[in-house]
Subunit: 391 residues, 2 copies
Amino acid sequence: MSQDTRYTVIGAGHGGKAMAADLAAKGFAVTLYNRSVERISEIAVCGTIDLEYENGISRCCRLASATSDIGEALEEADVIMVVTPASAHRDIAHSCAPHLHDGQIVVLNPGRTGGALEFRQILNRLDCAADVIVAETGTFIFASRSTGPAQARIFRRKNAVPLAALPAVHTGHVLETICDAYPQFIPAPNVLHTSLDNMGAIFHPALALLNAGWIERTRGEFQFYIDGVTDSTSRVLEVLDRERVTVAAALGVRARSAMRWLKDAYSAKGDTLYEVILGNPGYRGIKAPRNMRHRYVFEDVPFSLVPLISLGTQFGVDTWGADAMVRLACVVHGTNYYERGRTAEDMGLRGLRVSEVKRYVHEGKIKPIYAFADRGNGRSRQRAALSVERT
Amino acid sequence: MSQDTRYTVIGAGHGGKAMAADLAAKGFAVTLYNRSVERISEIAVCGTIDLEYENGISRCCRLASATSDIGEALEEADVIMVVTPASAHRDIAHSCAPHLHDGQIVVLNPGRTGGALEFRQILNRLDCAADVIVAETGTFIFASRSTGPAQARIFRRKNAVPLAALPAVHTGHVLETICDAYPQFIPAPNVLHTSLDNMGAIFHPALALLNAGWIERTRGEFQFYIDGVTDSTSRVLEVLDRERVTVAAALGVRARSAMRWLKDAYSAKGDTLYEVILGNPGYRGIKAPRNMRHRYVFEDVPFSLVPLISLGTQFGVDTWGADAMVRLACVVHGTNYYERGRTAEDMGLRGLRVSEVKRYVHEGKIKPIYAFADRGNGRSRQRAALSVERT
């Protein structure tokens, strides 16, 4: 089995190694890139990753190459699968920009909130002239683990993972290009949908913070959802979820509630979020993090909650629940996540009206009549940046 | 042994019954008041409370009376000891106002933050003409429990409990009056000190909220301080404590840090708040609340944290940590604690400068030169209310 599309997977962690191996097993030419060479040195030597599938069967999957040279990694790629925590997206955009060329597709797996928007904005700022499409998924396609230096395991493969390109007029092209590898990607209306249907924003930081003592005292020796979701903690989740759905509504996006999503994704039953979570067999056995230095906080706070708050601020939605979570996370990690996190400005949306945002995510353009109107400090610069947008 | 000072204890809960019995045992004439008659019906019938002391010895203590008629309760009292959660202070002030008479002393045991100030403000608003002194303590003098309908137990008797009258010029008179009963009361400089040295504000809500899942899932089957204080939760405590100390500083009060206080009160050792709390033998065995409907939240949020935030707002101190806690408590209890809580306005301090606040808490007067200057909406009314202050 040999396939034409050439893939580069960026990031050799739990997700990246599994995806690189899986794509190779499917007959694609795959380059695996990792910034630090240590993570890929063994793969580079043997040229293969041992992948264990859901059914327990293992397979030795031969890659085209493994490199920590980004120019080399992107040279031949048709599709660049970014499989890293959202905290790496900025650096990746910066290092990719000089090496991208016309016709390439970059997919963030997943973008969290505003990943594709920020990635595109960085390419614009760096005057990247290559005609590339940036896209993002709503969630990572596998539940997978890195099980050794050149080993990975896929526990579960998700169905119906939403994907949107920026602008959305290119979503069809992206899906066509990657459907041979992953037919389970389905089109989302635009990146606002993939970004605002981000359930990790709701569940991860709040449950970690409201169980902080328990996590640290027992090194996470309890079930994160089944034990950690209680009457009080679920009330906080409900508030956060309402904020997310309201921000989405302000942007004209009808987002599913977390309860609806759980019922759809897991066929979970119940009348309250509390009941639905406790009755969800998919959550059984998922342990709490062993400590608070976990991506549930350091990824989901700056790249899921901060962008949500920033969009809420711009479009008139009070997000004080999310705000309380971010503040607590700042204290717990001694880090200013507001400063490090992804804002509407980072996403290139600052100063835009809803109609302009919609046009931007759908067509890649702002209405020309507004495009260069200076409505305030710094905005003409921002509009100018947007004007180099691919159309 | 017979003593001249006649006491009325308001509130027949864990603290009130112990104090009523203890005062009676010391030879004072004691009336015990409770709003609902059920709590005192058995005491009213037998006329006594069985009090078990720290050393295990029990004594049957005869009260002068037990009543749910506030007029009757206050008629003969020299000193009125209010021993209720702070959430009852407002109602008590309202029901006492018509029945108070010249020379009486009201002591809030404790006032939490701003108890005496709000009590006085309510008396003023209700045009209570009686020349009474309102005072508050920094903490309750016992660790005690109600062990039956007419039974109470004292586990521990605290030393050096700070007390301040409002205004502070009367603190000496109050201490003289009650020193026969409780020589362990010591003078605080003024009610800002007793109010801002409120450590419950720092420890109680934050530790309950950051261990909410653990509390609810295990019904509080862990040690509140020894287990619940961890690296992350102690960082939040540190932020809250810094906010408290900074608000105090803005009001010219040099408050002790929680770490200093723990070292002084318990001779606890350590270099960080985390170490000091974990190394404090006084915290061993103190269980977590069995659920989140606990005074650690419903008392300390509105009557410790909300007044702290309100004072911070007025005097330019950012209290976002406290704010995050209050917001979470609002969600967890479905209650607007900002609305129910004690504000600078409730304390009669709104619109005052620091110099005016200081003069008010020390002498009971605002500087005449400012007293009736109208600096904005509603302030002249407030100044007028202050002008009836006893001087």
